[in-house]
């Protein structure tokens, strides 16, 4: 089947009466799941899988990918209005979304985030369509040594570009990497740092850690400080003003089209590399948005570019992740691994067969992502007003309710009582980190990258020996990392030297 035939067939199937209702239902389900802290894209897809046995491939794919596509949009709204990432991939949105909400611009941030998600996803989907023949060659250049070094580069970006200071961010990033080492070592099967606890043998679950670091820590601060989630500084917006802000946010996302394009490109590239995932892409895109902005100083204090950059990247990732999944059968994330299993359930074979003879199926996926995100954007706009009103509630009412829901979310992931305890412990750690300006994002990204870092280090040593670092791509990435870190250390020392005469 040719590309044009596949495109037409895929589009017509996506909007057909047999497929579209499933796409709509999946997209709304995904949006709802995204809003609930702790339930992410893989949860949405896992929930849909039991229904696939009774569906044809086209509606099955639309239902599954529709549910997955809108999760990040729902999660972005929760991140902005409750300082809690609905999913892990929205963690970067926390840096500028809640500060915008505190300024009374929450609806604008939400409008921009929803639109950036849609634009990013559309960019990712189009890129997937355009580059499919080329991608196979590019991905093959990234083996374990390259991924190992790239993961460290991602960590360096996060540590350096965060709003916290360099040494504190590096402590957090390294601590995050160390936390990822808890559990059974995949190579030797040796238990590490488990203290004999059976629950720690599989390592710490990601979702309770995220919920603790961000959700519980926010509740902690609200309880200790009193007041409301948005603070006392601004009045509540009317429905009309909220709608006005949403449209300002939408327009702002379109105005920053060049930023959306660049961050989406980062997202697609990161998505292509298995294991890095959308959380890392969002943070790197955030770093890029900050670095390239004319208003760097306002990042972390409620800059809309920070929201647009990270949200565009985290949805664009899906285009890249989907490419490596359907072209090579290499899932780039846990969600893509579920998609791969679901495609088997639907009788679809990935690899050469899919990209040559079932091009229509690839285009159903592409149009599902685009249409699903559009549904998510419109549906999400209706959620903004009720969510923005809820944030004006007193802490005394909000905290008990949200803590109960967050603990329920922590339990639901692994059906484990132990995970609630993990959320509590990381809640205390997250609160202290926030109080003392230690980067929670760096800790989280270190934790997320810990497993791929160790696995790829092992594979790199096995494949290329200790000198893998001198291979061309790892060497180039290492040099970029050293130069970047060196430049920032130099600027810190220079600023200190300049400040010394003033303090004397």
């Amino acid at each position: 089947m040719g590309i044009v035939d596949g495109l037409l067939s895929g589009f017509l199937q996506s909007i057909s009466i047999e497929v579209f209702p499933y796409l709509l239902a999946g997209s709304l389900l995904g949006l709802m799941i995204g809003v609930i802290p702790g339930l992410g894209g893989h949860f949405a897809m896992a929930m849909v899988i039991p229904f696939l046995y009774s569906l044809d491939p086209a509606p099955g794919i639309a239902f599954l990918l529709g549910a997955h596509a809108t999760v990040a949009q729902g999660g972005g709204l929760t991140a902005i209005f409750f300082s809690t990432p609905g999913t892990g991939q929205n963690a970067a949105t926390l840096l500028d979304g809640p500060p915008m909400r505190n300024k009374g611009l929450g609806a604008m941030a939400a409008g921009a985030a929803l639109t950036a998600c849609f634009l990013g996803a559309t960019f990712g989907a189009f890129t997937l369509a355009l580059l499919l023949p080329v991608l196979q060659q590019i991905v093959l250049f990234f083996g374990p040594p390259e991924i190992f070094v790239l993961a460290f580069l991602a960590l360096t970006f996060v540590a350096v570009l965060g709003k916290e200071d360099l040494s504190r961010s590096l402590i957090a990033a390294l601590a995050g990497l160390l936390l990822a080492m808890i559990g059974l070592d995949n190579v030797t099967n040796q238990e590490r740092f488990t203290f004999g606890l059976l629950e720690l043998r599989d390592g710490l679950e990601l979702v309770p850690v995220i919920l603790g670091l961000f959700a519980v820590a926010e509740m902690f601060e609200l309880w200790v400080g009193g007041g409301t989630l948005t603070g006392e500084g601004h009045r509540r917006l009317s429905a009309r003003e909220t709608q006005k802000q949403i449209f300002q946010g939408v327009i702002s996302a379109f105005k920053h089209w060049w930023l959306v394009l660049r961050c989406s490109a980062i997202g697609v590239t990161m998505g292509l590399i298995p294991g890095l995932g959308s959380a890392a892409a969002a943070f790197i895109a955030y770093g890029h948005a900050k670095q390239s902005s004319k208003t760097k100083d306002t990042f972390g204090k409620g800059n809309i570019e920070g929201v647009i950059g990270s949200e565009a990247a985290n949805d664009a990732v899906e285009g890249g992740a989907l490419a490596s999944t359907i072209a090579f059968g290499v899932p780039g994330s846990s969600s893509m691994a579920i998609l791969l299993s679901a495609l088997f359930v639907l009788g679809q074979e990935t690899g050469l067969n899919m990209v040559t003879t079932r091009v229509d199926v690839v285009f159903i996926m592409i149009f599902t992502i685009i249409i699903g995100n559009f549904i998510g954007m419109v549906g999400g706009m209706f959620l903004v007003n009720p969510l923005s009103r809820v944030t004006g509630l007193r802490g005394g009412i909000m905290v008990p309710v949200l803590i109960a829901i967050v603990f329920t979310g922590a339990f639901a992931v692994g059906r484990s009582w132990f995970d609630i305890g993990v959320a509590l412990v990381f809640g205390v750690i997250g609160y202290l980190m926030k109080e003392l300006d230690y980067s929670r994002a760096a800790l989280l990204i270190g934790f997320v990258l810990g497993f791929p870092v160790e696995r790829n280090l092992y594979l790199a040593l096995q494949l290329s020996g200790p000198y893998f670092i001198f291979d061309p791509i790892p060497l180039t990435l290492t040099l970029i990392m050293i130069l970047f870190l060196g430049y920032n250390v130099w600027t810190i020392l220079r600023d200190r030297r300049r400040a010394e005469p003033l303090t004397r």
Binding site: E164, S167, I171, Q190
Partner: protein, 174 residues
């Protein structure tokens, strides 16, 4: 990179933050040091990555401790710590109290199950601690519990933890 980013806890938040940072970083330092000793006993393949991470981490922790310590007078730091230990720091008291409430929620869920535990927790906090009206407390508690029940048990098909008491009455062995 602004100057503000490079300030220690003492410079930004006064001696209270400096004391808190010293305690926090010391605690992390102790945990990482213990982990370092433990990791020395692992197979070389298993120990390689953790040790590779812990060496720079310990150096950074030591540097941060020295920097924070140098920025504040020792007497001021000790006085601040002493105040916190004697319960004279309101923020610390509230924070410890909140940890206790969350630990209580954990215990309630373990014994009474998820729904009864979270309902009891919400009602007690709303009515007794936040001093909300009885009507509002009951409405919020019942409403949230029902929504969570419907969402998790019927929509997502996730059975939440039933608790020790339920297991006892259902005849399970412990």
């Amino acid at each position: 990179m602004t100057d503000e980013k490079q300030k220690t806890g003492a410079e930004r938040g006064g001696p209270r933050k400096a004391a808190l940072e010293l305690c926090f970083v010391s605690f992390i330092g102790i945990v990482v040091s213990a982990g370092f000793v433990v990791a020395l006993n692992y197979d070389i393949v298993s120990a390689r990555a953790p040790l590779f991470i812990m060496v720079p981490l310990l150096f950074l922790i030591a540097a941060q401790l020295l920097q924070t310590r140098a920025a504040t007078e020792q007497d001021v730091l000790l006085a601040e710590l002493s105040r916190a230990v004697r319960g004279q720091n309101r923020k610390v008291n509230v924070a410890i109290g909140f940890i206790a409430w969350m630990a209580l929620l954990l215990a309630l869920i373990f014994v009474m199950g998820h729904y009864a535990g979270m309902a009891a927790f919400m009602f007690v906090l709303l009515r007794l601690v936040s001093k909300e009206s009885t009507r509002l407390s009951v409405c919020v508690t019942v409403g949230v519990t029902i929504v969570v029940y419907l969402l998790f048990e019927h929509v997502f098909n996730i059975e939440l933890y039933r608790g020790l008491l339920f297991r006892l009455f259902a005849g399970f062995d412990f």
